[in-house]
């Protein structure tokens, strides 16, 4: 079961895309285009529309992405973006209460919503002929939300239960909050998307409405429609629905204080009696696809794959297979973000190996790439893997819609997504070496250790690894 305003999604846009099957019949995928039929246009009120035809089944995925997220919240109101996401299901004057959800259910649709640091999204998947109705309802919800204390108060309790379920019952998630706070100095990514508990508890529906009125507008949104549609039909429908909403304010300018690169290493530790396995992670502040110079984010994607993207990666091979000092080890790069983002190493020790030993070995392995680079074979394999993911993603219209939506909501263009395979294919072994040198080897780290409550910090046991790739939280 899935429904419910399922929040806190962060889609690693560039975790999905591709290159060339190596052996047997080498196929050059370097000039492959992702969703070549995708087109984009804007309405007069500033709404950007992306249409991704997939005519295999009479099904449509309809998504609205607002260019606003948890990192855009006013001070003291952490969690308001996510609370608003929940309240968006409480009705409008014209479609009161649960009319929208009831309508989706009656036509056999799926729906949900998600909040990340940089965007908030709402979607339905329905049979093709129900699309106009979804567009009318979502357009209505864009400006006409109506809230009362009666519907908003229980929902705040729901959000606090969600926080308990996601964070407070999980020491690893609590450690994650501390790592973020230590990594993103002077930047709102340091605050949890779901909000700090005391601030969430004091949120009101008036706070939510203020946030809603200033940010939920066509000029600040992206409409992504994937499935059994063509662009002309969508243009007409969009004009008849979203097009009726006046907006001359354009996009919200997101001026955030920038994360500071400290010279000092930082160490955060959480010891908890519920921890049965210690673990460690190292986090680096690195550029995202939005902030990086051309080629840098692509090089970091390839580096993450070679370093720790699978079970033949450098880290897994050394720590898990050969040296047998870890039960798992890997690395991931959260590539999609408006501001500088994170690159993370994680490992769970095996036997009596200390966490420090794992951290030291990870640094040595990174230094080795920074000094000696990677082999052509490794490079090719990583590209094949990345680009194969992109081809596989094209089997699913909702995946494609998410890839485009997340990219556009964080400052990329449709063309950049489409030509991502070319950009990945262009990465050289030296680009990967340079990325390791510049962004990891030469930089300060934040170390996050999860410990058994009774264990001294230097002893070691084992613990939860952060989810590789596509960071949720």
């Amino acid at each position: 079961m899935t429904p419910i305003t399922n929040s806190l999604a962060a889609i690693g846009v560039a975790t999905l895309m591709m290159t060339l099957p190596a052996t047997a019949k080498p196929v050059d995928l370097s000039d492959l285009t992702i969703a070549p039929d995708a087109t984009t246009f804007s309405l007069d009120n500033g709404l950007q529309v992306v249409v991704i035809p997939d005519r295999r089944a009479p099904i449509v995925t309809h998504m609205v992405w607002y260019r606003i997220g948890a990192a855009d919240e006013p001070p003291g109101k952490s969690g308001i973006a996510h609370y608003l996401e929940h309240l968006m299901f409480k009705g409008t004057s014209e479609n009161p209460g649960s009319t929208f959800s009831d309508t989706v259910a009656r036509v056999g649709g799926r729906e949900n919503a998600f909040t990340s640091n940089d965007y908030t999204g709402y979607y339905q998947q329905v049979s093709k002929q129900n699309l106009p109705q979804m567009m009318a309802l979502e357009a209505d919800r864009m400006r006409n939300l109506r809230l009362t204390h009666e519907v908003s108060a229980p929902e705040l309790k729901v959000v606090l239960e969600e926080r308990r379920a996601r964070i407070e019952t999980r020491p690893s998630a609590e450690l994650g909050e501390a790592v973020d706070a230590a990594l993103f100095i002077n930047h709102p990514y340091s605050d949890p998307i779901i909000g700090w508990p005391n601030e969430v508890a004091s949120l009101t529906f008036e706070d939510a409405l203020n946030f809603y009125r200033s940010h939920y507008r066509p000029g600040n949104a992206v409409l992504v429609i994937a499935g059994d549609v063509d662009v002309d039909e969508i243009r007409t429908l969009a004009e008849e629905t979203y097009g009726k909403i006046a907006d001359d304010k354009g996009r919200v300018t997101r001026v955030r204080p920038q994360a500071q690169k400290l010279r000092a290493d930082r160490l955060v530790e959480l010891a908890d009696p519920r921890v049965t396995q210690s673990s460690t992670q190292l986090a680096w502040l690195v550029p995202s696809y939005t902030t990086a110079e051309p080629g840098t984010a692509e090089a970091l994607d390839v580096l993450a794959e070679i370093l720790g993207g699978n079970n033949t990666s450098r880290l897994y091979t050394a720590l898990v297979r050969d040296e047998k000092i870890a039960t798992s080890a890997g690395a991931w790069y959260q590539s999609s973000a408006i501001d500088d983002t994170r690159f993370v190493f994680y490992a769970i020790p095996r036997g009596d190996t200390s966490l420090e030993a794992l951290e030291d070995r990870a640094r040595e392995i990174i230094a080795d790439i920074a000094d000696n680079g990677v082999s052509d074979e490794e490079l090719q394999r990583a590209k094949t893997s990345l680009l194969a993911s992109a081809i596989f993603a094209q089997d699913n219209q909702a995946s494609l819609a998410r890839i485009f939506g997340a990219a556009l909501a964080t400052g990329s263009t449709v063309e950049e997504v489409q030509t991502w395979p070319t950009a990945i294919s262009a990465i050289t072994a030296d680009d990967v070496r340079a990325a390791a040198k510049t962004w990891l080897d030469d930089q300060a780290t934040v170390t996050g250790r999860l410990l058994e409550a009774d264990a001294p910090a230097t002893a070691a046991i084992t613990a939860p690894a952060p989810a590789p790739s596509t960071a949720i939280r």
Binding site: A57, T169, K324, I348
Partner: protein, 436 residues
């Protein structure tokens, strides 16, 4: 490719996406010269081939006593080296050919999932063949994967959601494989070795319990040849242990303590098997009470009206040897009793009052309308085709399924509800820190 291919187009099925548009899904039953059968939907729109297979009955219910977690370890190590390729060589071959291959086990079955590009379909099937005919189960791989599974098991020991799921299972199914942790325990996994894998493999992997679904950029002739080359060398017959038919225990309440701010709750009692004439009515009833829409009774009463939980759900699960109606939620420790009461009250209400005509109509509209969404991608179509074969529902099931739902009357739902809730309340398991 010079085999004589016996190809039969058995059915052309129309998924009605409610009024108006309909889309054809052509399912072909492809039988290879060697007599291996697969269901195929051929579609070259996306250059991907999705292959789902299952070995029926070879899931964790086959784990011998003291060997809990055997099927899970087997699924985790089949792809860790085969033939003359060790783990690294095998995994590297998968990556170099852009082939995704994984195995998984449920209580009842063992599953394989192969995804390839059109250009690597032969390499993909060949790697699947190797894994299924010459798996190595090297000590290195077994030791490594066992350590990973053990980490997961240790972590689960203090996770209320996992603790409560295990507590419910062993309470509902004492003295039955369904009551044993499917992934095993730290102790049982430590006892699993090479011989256990070979044993599980020998008994569970065969042609007579194999079902195959293939969707995507491949034609019937190509597939027919690959079926023989991939599965032709498997043993003819599986040799599975008998699993007793069982009913989940009802009316028990059990609890355990984990020091955590939120209490996890699971409930469950007898459901109805898929072969029961009231299964579809029960399925509709489950949708109304807690099956996953915002409008469900549990969602409305527990979440919307009272704000007690983020998640609350129910499900109807027909297993091979039992049938369960169950569900769960999680709430602040001091609200746990209230949440359980609210949930049980809904069962009572369903057993006595039942839903309204309007609720039934809405449920049917949702269930029939959403069926088409299960056929939106090659991988999801493959899952459906596999499921229909496992459950032996027949190739025309996709055509019939919405009619079966449409035919459900209010009296059918009430009867199904009385059968599920009328005998007593389900067994409830609660795990958290005692309030106050």
């Amino acid at each position: 490719m010079y085999h004589l291919v016996k190809r039969a187009i058995v059915a052309t099925l129309f998924i009605s996406a409610s009024v108006g548009s309909a889309s054809a899904i052509d399912i072909q039953e492809v039988t290879s010269p060697g007599g291996i059968t697969a269901w195929l939907v051929s579609d070259d729109t996306v250059p991907v081939v999705a292959v789902d297979i299952a070995f029926k009955g070879a899931g964790s219910s086959q784990d011998p006593e003291g060997k809990a977690g055997r099927a899970n370890l087997l699924a985790s190590t089949i792809d860790e080296g085969a033939g003359d390729m060790d783990s690294v060589a095998f995994q590297t071959a998968l990556q170099d050919n852009a082939v995704r291959l994984s195995f998984d086990s449920s209580r009842d079955h063992l599953y394989g999932d192969l995804t390839t590009l059109s250009s690597s379909v032969e390499q993909g099937f060949n790697l699947l063949r190797l894994a299924l005919t010459e798996p190595r189960f090297d000590d290195e791989a077994l030791t490594r994967i066992r350590a990973q599974i053990t980490v997961g098991l240790r972590r689960e020991q203090n996770d209320p959601d996992n603790v409560v799921a295990r507590l419910w299972s062993r309470t509902a199914f004492p003295d039955h494989p369904y009551g044993v942790p499917a992934n095993g325990t730290v102790e049982s996994v430590a006892n699993l070795g090479h011989d256990d894998m070979v044993d599980a493999f020998k008994h569970g992997i065969a042609r007579d319990n194999l079902v195959i679904a293939v969707v995507g950029d491949i034609d019937a002739d190509t597939l027919a040849a690959l079926l023989d080359s991939t599965f032709g060398d498997l043993p003819e017959h599986a040799d599975l242990a008998d699993v007793a038919e069982v009913e989940p225990a009802m009316g028990l309440t059990v609890s355990d303590t984990v020091d955590t701010p939120q209490t996890a709750i699971r409930f469950g009692g007898p459901g109805l098997p898929r072969s029961d004439p009231d299964f579809i009515p029960a399925y509709v009833m489950n949708h109304i009470i807690g099956g996953g829409a915002f409008s469900s009774w549990l969602f409305q009463e527990v979440r919307e009206k009272r704000g007690l939980a983020y998640t609350v759900y129910s499900y109807l699960a027909p297993y091979a040897h039992t049938a369960v109606f169950g569900g769960g939620t999680a709430t602040r420790n001091d609200q746990a009793q209230e949440a359980v009461k609210v949930i049980l009250d809904q069962f009572e209400r369903m057993a006595t009052e039942g839903p309204t005509e309007e609720e039934l109509a809405d449920a049917k509209a949702y269930l029939t309308g959403s069926y088409a969404l299960r056929f939106g991608s090659s991988s999801s179509i493959a899952r459906q085709l596999l499921f229909i074969q496992i459950e032996d529902l027949g190739m025309d099931y996709i055509d019939k399924r919405n009619d079966l739902v449409e035919a459900v009357t209010l009296e059918d739902v009430r009867r199904a509800a009385r059968r599920i809730f009328g005998e007593g309340r389900p067994t409830v398991a609660v795990v958290g820190a005692p309030a106050g």
